[in-house]
């Protein structure tokens, strides 16, 4: 049918099908800022203005818009310029992955045009339809406030940092932030003043993101492209007795149907990890057995998504349904159904008992220590399954280039691992594959996986044509990756003074149908569970169980949120039992500078190496606790009128605390590399294998290079993650990019700087060779200078020509721990069990924050994800293992208009091993929110929960049993 749309002022006559959504038609017309997030409109990633009102174009038929005006961000500003709203989003750090930023900009536009001076509530309402998994909404709200002020003609202040006076040591120079977007930094006297590092520089990728320019996997047009769909198992555990694909193949437009009968059986493990991937290799592309509802059965490539979907329904599969088991404890009990009964399970601990891994670690003799303890405490906790839920689901496009090599353009955190892992499955030499990671709409670990690249690869090989596969939201929930559920038991002995003498941690972990990250996540659980506090002896025992649940894998935090929920709940309750103040009890026992991280040597990948015991090299935890205590108003715990407001008799208020300690990269394993070369004008190309998922990695890597070279970051052109073009990097995981890739960039830049200085010394006739790089120039000791542009022209064209270029890689022997203090304020409705989270405060020691705005954004967004983990998100199943809430509505992630107060402090320490003093920050915000809320509920009501999430019914039951 023909429709007429006025898009960004241009009237267009378009042909569309009656069922096509406005999103589909707009994307077809090249408006790639309109993005897919779900089929049901809740993500708002596809929101556009229709007749000036923000609507989800994914649930509007294009035909409905016939005769109406449509606005997208493509219409807001001409090339190389920005609308004031876009400028505000960039300046405030409101953009992380940028996937939904265009929709937020339009939301702001609609609001400000009708309401030039909106309140915060009105702004939060205007953003309420756009789900954000990244920023915690804080900076987008500030961005809209700033944009409104700018459009009212007011001057807006520069975003700087707000210097907060330390509370536990002396340092002058406190300074209020000039803008609401200014992050709070607690300075440290050991940190030197720098020019680019430590400054809130604008994101290097901001322009393309805020303008909605085509930058993501799906934002390209391939001629002859086919669309893939996957047939997923409806059964939790079944053998495939027969598959008849003849009707599907006969359907017009179907180009390939693949399943276990026509795809080679190559065993692999899908977790995106370094070579050799941990055993067992318990997956194949298509198997004759299915092990969870959502497991792969077959894949189709067809001319359209509709045809591919129809073809799935034409594949006749005969299943022999087998008994299934979902609980990790039941799975390892006698008589449970065996999930992996096939051959080739080398490296699995005991598949006949569904135990894929058994992990043990001992420091000292914990039983003897606990036997002698003054008091002993034992508690068991259960943590549940959640999904990372990036707004951009998994998507990959495979095609053959002009050399007939396979190119896989994919939304991945691990492009180099994907290339290495997919090659044997496709039976292609590695050199015949190129993996490109364009911009990614969030990953959070779900994309640390070779998840769908083999499917598009197989289908491209079968058809010779480009093939695209994008997961639906339901498929993202059930067939992608999730957080490991665990049953965790802590047993702790304390001496008469309240010091820990022994700590014993036992975990039964649920890795679902496949192992993937099952070993390493549970190694981290043990490491994190037994590193925060000093005990003379420690023990970790873990069974990792196969079950028939959708597959857990990597999810930001990687085993730590589970362990720290249990540990920090346990520590709180011990303090309560001992009658010691909960902060004081932590202080008495936490690890600090110089303390050994003794359990780490026993919980590394591969052979235990106890010859090297890492020690804590920097810790700002004391200051973190002090800042958090003040911000949350910890003293209110003692105010009865605050705890029980007289005018609201069913409300109880409470405050809770959790201490967090994380790691920075995997020592001895994670490697990042970088190359940097000068251009004729003194600008530089920085090529890195590191993958920016929206974290700001490209920006902070550019800042590190710019600091070394004495130039602004606008002179650094970052290109990242293309296996043909950039040096190797293990990828974006394990809180490693700033520390590992950052150090590689620093070293590469230092090599380029050395070459620059050498030429400058010649050009300036500086006999000492002492050349300073600053302000885009090289300076002699007597104050003469040449520009980097002149040096570039000299070296590239004029004399003793060579390319000024540095290449370096880095692997760290250490993993310096960031520390954090997490506080929560909550209200409990004691008649219903409803918990309302009023405030979350996190003070983080991440060493030196290379970019305080992006670092604060990591903390704000991470805390909000962690809030979902503790408070509301859960994957719920029916008795047959079918997820019953695989949509954003019933699953529920926090919206802009229901957020608690969020406050973040970046407490500086000088970590000598890190680039310019940096440690990690990406994952630690995930660790403390659930236990802090749990401890606040205990403070408010006395109910001591042993499981998450704190949904009304669970809390109500706990209140019933504790009263």
């Amino acid at each position: 049918m023909n429709i007429t749309l006025v898009i960004n002022g241009d009237s267009r006559l378009l042909d569309c099908a009656p069922h096509e959504s406005l999103m589909t038609v707009l994307r077809g017309e090249g408006f790639f800022s309109v993005r897919f997030g779900s089929e049901t409109g809740e993500t708002g990633a596809a929101a556009v203005l229709v007749d000036g009102r923000l609507v989800s174009s994914d649930i509007m038929l294009a035909a409905q818009a016939d005769g109406h005006t449509v606005e997208t961000v493509e219409g807001l500003a001409p090339r190389m310029s920005m609308h004031p709203i876009q400028e505000a989003f960039v300046a405030t750090g409101a953009i992380q992955s940028g996937y939904s930023t265009p929709a937020m900009v339009l939301a702001a536009k609609e609001l400000i045009e009708t309401n030039p001076d909106p309140s915060e509530d009105e702004i939060r309402d205007a953003l309420s339809g756009i789900l954000d998994r990244e920023t915690g909404y804080l900076r987008p709200v500030i961005a809209v406030q700033r944009a409104a002020a700018a459009l009212r003609g007011e001057t807006v202040d520069e975003v700087t940092t707000e210097i907060v006076a330390p509370l536990t040591y002396d340092m002058d120079g406190a300074r209020d932030g000039s803008s609401a977007a200014s992050p709070k930094v607690v300075p440290n006297p050991e940190v030197p003043e720098m020019n680019v590092v430590g400054k809130p520089e604008l994101k290097v990728d901001a322009l393309k993101l805020v303008k909605g320019n085509p930058a993501f996997v799906d934002d390209i047009e391939m001629r002859q492209m086919l669309f893939a769909k996957v047939l997923y198992s409806p059964h939790a555990h079944a053998r495939i007795v027969a598959i008849d694909d003849s009707k599907a193949r006969a359907l017009r437009g179907v180009k390939a149907v693949l399943h276990h009968q026509n795809v080679a059986r190559v065993r692999y493990a899908s977790g995106g990890q370094s070579y050799p991937n941990p055993l067992p290799y318990d997956q194949v592309s298509f198997d004759d057995k299915v092990r969870f509802v959502g497991d792969r059965v077959a894949a189709v490539a067809a001319e359209t998504i509709e045809i591919a979907t129809e073809a799935l329904g034409l594949i006749d599969v005969e299943y022999e349904v087998l008994p299934a088991v979902f609980d990790e404890n039941e799975a390892i009990a006698e008589g449970a159904p065996i999930i992996h009964d096939e051959d080739g399970m080398d490296g699995a601990h005991d598949p006949s008992r569904n135990i894929v891994h058994q992990i043990t670690a001992d420091v000292g003799d914990v039983d003897a220590a606990i036997a002698k303890a003054h008091r002993t405490f034992e508690q068991t906790f259960r943590v549940h399954q959640v999904q990372p839920a990036p707004i951009e689901p998994h998507i990959a496009i495979a095609y053959f280039d002009s050399d007939e090599r396979m190119v896989i353009r994919t939304s991945t955190q691990v492009p180099f691992h994907v290339r290495r892992m997919v090659a044997p499955l496709l039976d292609l030499p590695l050199k015949q594959i190129r993996v490109i990671k364009p911009r990614i709409g969030g990953g959070f670990g779900a994309k640390q996986e070779m998840l769908i690249e083999d499917i598009v690869g197989h289908l491209a090989m079968a058809t010779g044509r480009p093939v695209r596969l994008e997961l639906t939201r339901e498929e993202e929930f059930v067939s992608s990756r999730t957080r490991h559920p665990q049953t965790i038991t802590f047993r702790t002995g304390v001496d008469i003074a309240g010091h820990l003498v022994g700590q014993d941690m036992k975990v039964v972990a649920n890795t679902g149908a496949y192992g993937t990250h099952g070993l390493t996540v549970q190694l981290v659980s043990g490491l994190r569970g037994l590193s925060s506090y000093q005990a003379l002896s420690k023990r970790y025992r873990c069974d990792v169980a196969y079950t028939n649940l959708p597959v857990p894998g990597a999810y930001r935090g990687y085993g730590a949120p589970q362990a720290l929920f249990a540990l920090e709940s346990h520590m709180e309750d011990i303090a309560h039992e001992l009658g010691i103040d909960s902060l004081e009890f932590r202080r008495m026992n936490w690890t600090t500078e110089g303390d050994p991280i003794d359990v780490a040597a026993h919980l590394s990948e591969g052979e235990a190496d106890t010859s090297f015991v890492p020690v804590v090299t920097s810790s700002g935890i004391v200051e973190c606790v002090a800042q958090g205590e003040r911000s949350i108003g910890w003293h209110r715990r003692l105010d009865p009128d605050w705890r029980q407001p007289p005018d609201r008799p069913h409300i109880r208020r409470g405050l809770g605390f959790a201490m967090c300690m994380h790691g920075t990269a995997i020592p001895g394993l994670d490697m990042g590399a970088a190359s940097i070369k000068i251009n004729d004008d003194g600008s530089f190309n920085l090529l890195v294998g590191a993958t920016d998922l929206g974290t700001g990695a490209d920006t902070i890597l550019a800042q590190i290079a710019a600091e070394v070279l004495g130039i602004p970051i606008s002179d650094i052109l970052v290109y990242a993650a293309d296996t043909d073009m950039t040096p190797f990097d293990t990828g974006a995981y394990a809180s490693s990019t700033t520390y590992i890739s950052g150090m590689a960039v620093k070293r590469a830049a230092e090599e380029a700087a050395r070459q620059i200085r050498a030429r400058a010394a010649v050009m300036l006739d500086e006999s000492t060779g002492a050349i300073e790089l600053r302000d885009r120039q090289a300076w002699s000791t007597d104050g003469r200078s040449v520009t980097l542009g002149e040096i570039a022209l000299s070296t590239l064209h004029q004399a003793q020509q060579h390319q000024i270029m540095g290449v370096a890689s880095y692997v760290s022997p250490e993993s310096p721990p960031p520390y954090a203090a997490q506080f929560a304020e909550i209200e409990v409705d004691i008649e219903t069990g409803q918990v309302t989270v009023k405030a979350l405060v996190m003070a983080v020691d991440c060493g030196v924050a290379i970019n305080p705005v992006t670092a604060a954004g990591q903390v704000e967004g991470g805390m909000v994800q962690a809030l979902g983990y503790g408070h509301c998100e859960e994957m719920a199943y029916d008795p047959d293992g079918r997820m019953v809430n695989a949509q954003f509505g019933p699953y529920w992630i926090y919206r802009s208009d229901e957020m608690p107060r969020i406050d973040t402090f970046l407490v500086q320490t000088m970590e000598k091993s890190g680039p310019f003093g940096a440690k990690a920050i990406a994952e630690i915000p995930k660790d403390g929110v659930a236990p802090a809320i749990r401890n606040a509920i205990a403070d408010a009501t006395g109910a001591r929960l042993d499981a998450i999430p704190f949904t009304p019914q669970r809390v109500w039951h706990s209140l019933q049993s504790s009263s």
Binding site: L61, Q64, E306, E898
Partner: protein, 245 residues
């Protein structure tokens, strides 16, 4: 695969009714439900946007909401009672509120729709046009009997005046409530309580008959817990309706 194969945008009610007489054809409001993931997509849709059904008009103590008025229109209108304004705002985030229509929300009969509960508590009357003419039915009757496919909701009428309140329990402040209770108290003192989450659709209930409810349980709440919430929240609503009167 099942999908919409024809789209119509009639300009008269008669034309719309003629189109709706065809099998597999349904009326389309804002499309926020129908274009999502419907269990059984229709073959043809009849978009009602050109029928001029989007007015909200105040007539004495009655407010008439055109079926094609959006939830956003209702939120923005000066005469909208506070209960309906708050519940329309709670019903959906702005991207969906800006498109979802009053008529569509009634026709979808969402089991957890707080807005429908508010309409029910406001004793809403729904005007329905069919081939044999227009009739008015109480919303409660319509929800019990469900709508005939070949009919068009043209407007919803609610009375003004009296007092109103609602209470809910949800996982988070903006979440779809596990149970929501909306209540009104007329100037004569008649109290009407309506709950979501305790029956397959929002229902009128009495506080002393909560035990008779048979709530469909889900992972957020068992039947017992939902009955408990109906009692607690209903009691709070009544207390608010009776306070400061």
């Amino acid at each position: 695969m099942a999908m919409i194969r024809a789209y119509h945008r009639p300009t008269t009610l008669q034309e719309a009714l003629d189109l709706l007489a065809r099998p597999g054809t349904v009326p389309l409001g804002g499309g926020t439900v129908l274009n999502g993931l419907p269990d059984d997509p229709p073959e043809e849709v009849v978009d009602l946007q050109a029928l001029e059904l989007d007015a909200i008009s105040l007539d004495g103590a009655m407010l008439t909401l055109g079926a094609m008025a959006t939830l956003r229109d209702l939120v923005d209108h000066d005469a909208t009672p506070v209960l309906l304004r708050d519940l329309a705002r709670r019903e959906a985030p702005n991207t969906i509120r800006n498109a979802a229509t009053i008529g569509g929300t009634v026709a979808a009969a969402g089991s957890e729709s707080g807005f429908l509960a508010g309409l029910l508590a406001s004793s809403a009357v729904v005007a329905i046009t069919q081939a044999d003419g227009t009739k008015e039915v109480a919303l409660s009757d319509l929800l019990a009997d469900r709508l005939n496919a070949a009919s068009i909701i043209t407007s919803v009428r609610v009375g003004l005046g009296g007092k109103a309140a609602f209470e809910f329990t949800a996982r988070t402040p903006a979440d779809i409530p596990i149970v929501l209770v909306a209540g009104t108290r007329s100037e004569e003192g008649t109290v009407v309580l309506v709950a979501t989450g305790v029956a397959p659709e929002p229902v009128v209930f009495d506080l002393d008959q909560v035990d008779a409810l048979e709530p469909p349980p889900d992972f957020r709440g068992s039947a017992d817990y939902r009955r408990h919430l109906a009692t607690v929240l209903g009691g709070r609503v009544v207390a608010r309706l009776e306070a400061a009167s």
